[in-house]
C-alpha cells in the first residue's frame, strides 16, 4: 500500500514538471560587444530567449571571418557576421545560411576631416588612407574603389592594426582612415579637434546588407523551430531596445569594459541602419533577393568572391516573422 502510494507520488511528480529541455545555443558575435549588440543582450537579460525555449550564451567574436568559421565548424550554432563576408564564405563552401539581415546597410566608409573635402570617392586621389589587414572592409574597399573608378595607385594605403587606425588619423600620420560608423567614426569624432565626416560606402554603390544572423546548416536542418524562435526573440529584442535604449545598452554594458556612454552612442548611431526605410516597410531583418544579388555582385565583380551563390544556398526568409 505504502509502496504503491509512493510509486504514484513519484510518477505524478515526474509529470508535474514539463520535461521541456531548453535548446542550448551559442551565439557568436561578429566582434567585441558594441552598442548595436544591445538588442541581443537585452533579449537575453529579459528572458526573451528563455521564454522561447532557448538557453542562449552570447560570445563576443573576433571579426566576421572568425564568426563565420566558428559557426561553420559547429563550435557555435548561430552567429552574427557581415553579409558580404558570409557570401564569400558560402561561395567557398562554408555550411552556413543567413536567416535575418539585422544591419540593413553597410556601416563602413572613409573617415576624414570635413575641411579636407573628401566628399566623393575620387577625392581620395593624392591622399593617404589607413587600412586594416583583415575584416569586412578589406574586401569592401577594393570593390568600392573599382565601382567608383578610384585609382588605387593614386591613393597611398597604409596598413595599420585595427586599433591604430584612428590614432594615426588623429595624429596626422594619415589623411583618412577606413572605419565603421559605430566604431572608428565615433571615436574619431569624439576626440578630434575639428569636424570629422564619414563617406559611407552605402551611398556610393554599396547598397548591400551588413551584419546578419547566420546559422550552421546542420543545426538548421535539425532544429528549425529553435532557429525560428531565436530570430523572433532577437527581433523582439530590437523592438524593445528601440523603446528602451538605455536599459538595453545597460544589458550590453554589463558584459564588457567599454563604458556605457560609448555603447549608448554606438547604439544610437547604428539604429538607423537597423530600422531603415526597408525595415520599417518589410520588417526588421527582412531580406530581398535583389539586394542580396547586389550584395554578392559587388564582391564577385570587384572583390575576392569567386562565383555568385544561388540565393537558396545563401539565405532564407522563412524564419522571419511573416
Amino acid at each position: 500500500m505504502m509502496k504503491t502510494a509512493a510509486a504514484i507520488g513519484m510518477a505524478t511528480a515526474g509529470f508535474a514538471l514539463p520535461a521541456a529541455a531548453q535548446t542550448e545555443i551559442t551565439f557568436h558575435l561578429d566582434f567585441l560587444v558594441n552598442g548595436y549588440h544591445a538588442p541581443f543582450y537585452i533579449a537575453e537579460a529579459n528572458g526573451m530567449y528563455e521564454a522561447a525555449g532557448l538557453d542562449v550564451t552570447i560570445n563576443p567574436g573576433r571579426g566576421s571571418t572568425d564568426a563565420i568559421s566558428t559557426v561553420a565548424s559547429g563550435n557555435a550554432e548561430i552567429g552574427f557576421a557581415d553579409a558580404g563576408a558570409v557570401a564569400q564564405a558560402v561561395a567557398n563552401g562554408a555550411p552556413v545560411t543567413v536567416v535575418a539581415a539585422i544591419l540593413q546597410e553597410a556601416p563602413y566608409g572613409i573617415i576624414s576631416y570635413t575641411e579636407d573635402g573628401i566628399d566623393e570617392p575620387t577625392d581620395l586621389h593624392g591622399h593617404s588612407l589607413a587600412v586594416v589587414p583583415a575584416g569586412a572592409t578589406t574586401q569592401a574597399l577594393p570593390a568600392f574603389m573599382a565601382l567608383n573608378e578610384v585609382d588605387p595607385d593614386q591613393v597611398e594605403m597604409i596598413t595599420y592594426n585595427f586599433g591604430a587606425t584612428v590614432p594615426s588619423f588623429l595624429s596626422g600620420q594619415v589623411d583618412a582612415t577606413i572605419g565603421y560608423l559605430f566604431g572608428e567614426f565615433l571615436a574619431a569624432r569624439n576626440e578630434a579637434d575639428r569636424d570629422v565626416q564619414i563617406m559611407r560606402f552605402y551611398n556610393w554603390g554599396f547598397d548591400v546588407y551588413s551584419n546578419s544572423i547566420i546559422v550552421n546548416n546542420s543545426f538548421l536542418e535539425e532544429n528549425p523551430e529553435a532557429v525560428r524562435a531565436f530570430v523572433h526573440a532577437s527581433i523582439e529584442g530590437v523592438e524593445y531596445a528601440m523603446e528602451n535604449p538605455e536599459e538595453a545598452v545597460q544589458a550590453a554594458a554589463a558584459n564588457t569594459e567599454t563604458p556605457f556612454e560609448t555603447l549608448l552612442e554606438q547604439f544610437e548611431v547604428a539604429l538607423p541602419l537597423i530600422y531603415n526605410a526597408d525595415a520599417e516597410a518589410n520588417g526588421i531583418g527582412s531580406m530581398t533577393p535583389e539586394k542580396w544579388d547586389r550584395t554578392q555582385r559587388v564582391n564577385v565583380e570587384f572583390g575576392e568572391q569567386s562565383d555568385m551563390v544561388a540565393p537558396e544556398d545563401l539565405f532564407t526568409t522563412e524564419f522571419l516573422p511573416q
Binding site: 557568436h28 568559421s69 563550435n75 557555435a76 592594426n161 586599433g163 571615436a187 569594459e257 567599454t258 560609448t262
Partner: protein, 255 residues
C-alpha cells in the same frame, strides 16, 4: 628594508619618469587620447577595480595552468630526448617547427579545432612556454660531469639511478632558468589566446580597449599585466632560492 635601502636610487629614478610622463600629458605635449597620463591610468584601474581584478584572475589562472602543463610535458619530453636518440631525432624537429610557426597565426586555427574556450587557450600558452623548458632541461640532464659519471658507473649504477641521483638534480638550475623565461611567456601566451577568443581576461580587455580606441583601458590592462608578470617572475626567483639553496649565483645577479 635592506632591499629598499639598496635600491632607493632606481626607485627614485622610476618615480621621476612617472612624474615626467604625467607632466608631458598634462601640458599637452603628448596627446591624452593616445597616451593617457599616470593619473588617468590609475583612475581607470581604480574605477574598474572589481571587474579588472576578475579579468586579472582569469588571465593569471590561464597563464599558470598553461605553465604547469608546459612544465609537466616539457620536462617529460626532455627526459625522453635525453635518454633516447630515436626520440630526440623524432621530437626535436616537431618542437622546433612548433616554435617557428608563429603561435598568433595558428591560434585562430586552434580555436576552430578546439573551440573558443579554455582548451584552445591552454594549448596556446603551452606552445609559447614549452620550448625553453625542453631545451634547458635536456641540456641540464646531459651536461653532467664526466668524471662524476665514471665514479658512479664504477659502482654499477643503473641508468635509472644515474638519472635520479645525478641527472635530475643537475638539471634543476637550468630548469629554473627556463622557468623564469617561461613564466613571463605564459602571460604573453594567455594574452595572445585572449586576443583570439573568449570574453574574459586582461588580454581581452586590452583588445576591447584597442578596438574601441579606448587607450585608458588599454593602458590600465597593460599596467596590470606588467605587474602580474613581474610578480610571477619574482615568485619563480624566490622559489629557486628555497628549492635550490646550493645554486645561488653571485651577489649582484643571477643568470
Amino acid at each position: 628594508m635592506g632591499w629598499l635601502r639598496s635600491r632607493w636610487k632606481s626607485i627614485l629614478f622610476f618615480l621621476f619618469l612617472i612624474v615626467l610622463w604625467q607632466v608631458a600629458v598634462d601640458s599637452g605635449f603628448l596627446l591624452r587620447f593616445i597616451v593617457p597620463s599616470p593619473t588617468d591610468v590609475l583612475g581607470e584601474i581604480a574605477g574598474r577595480w572589481d571587474r579588472l581584478l576578475m579579468h586579472l584572475g582569469y588571465t593569471l589562472m590561464i597563464a599558470l595552468a598553461g605553465f604547469v602543463i608546459a612544465l609537466a610535458i616539457g620536462v617529460t619530453m626532455a627526459v625522453l630526448i635525453a635518454h633516447s636518440r630515436f626520440l630526440a631525432e623524432s621530437l626535436y624537429p616537431i618542437l622546433v617547427l612548433s616554435q617557428v610557426v608563429p603561435t598568433i597565426a595558428i591560434a585562430p586555427l586552434l580555436s576552430i579545432w578546439f573551440g573558443p574556450g579554455e582548451v584552445t587557450k591552454l594549448i596556446v600558452v603551452f606552445l609559447i612556454t614549452v620550448f625553453p623548458i625542453v631545451v634547458n632541461t635536456t641540456a641540464g640532464l646531459l651536461q653532467v660531469d664526466d668524471d662524476l659519471l665514471y665514479v658512479v658507473k664504477g659502482l654499477k649504477a643503473s641508468r635509472w639511478k644515474i638519472f635520479v641521483l645525478i641527472r635530475l638534480p643537475n638539471a634543476l638550475p637550468s630548469l629554473f632558468a627556463a622557468m623564469r623565461i617561461s613564466i613571463t611567456l605564459a602571460v604573453i601566451g594567455a594574452v595572445v589566446a585572449e586576443f583570439v577568443a573568449g570574453s574574459i581576461g586582461l588580454g581581452y580587455v586590452v583588445f576591447t580597449g584597442a578596438a574601441n580606441v579606448n587607450t585608458r583601458l588599454v593602458f590600465a590592462a597593460v599596467v596590470l599585466l606588467g605587474a602580474m608578470g613581474i610578480a610571477l617572475f619574482t615568485a619563480v626567483k624566490l622559489l629557486q632560492r628555497v628549492a635550490l639553496p646550493w645554486a645561488q649565483g653571485t651577489k649582484e645577479g643571477e643568470a
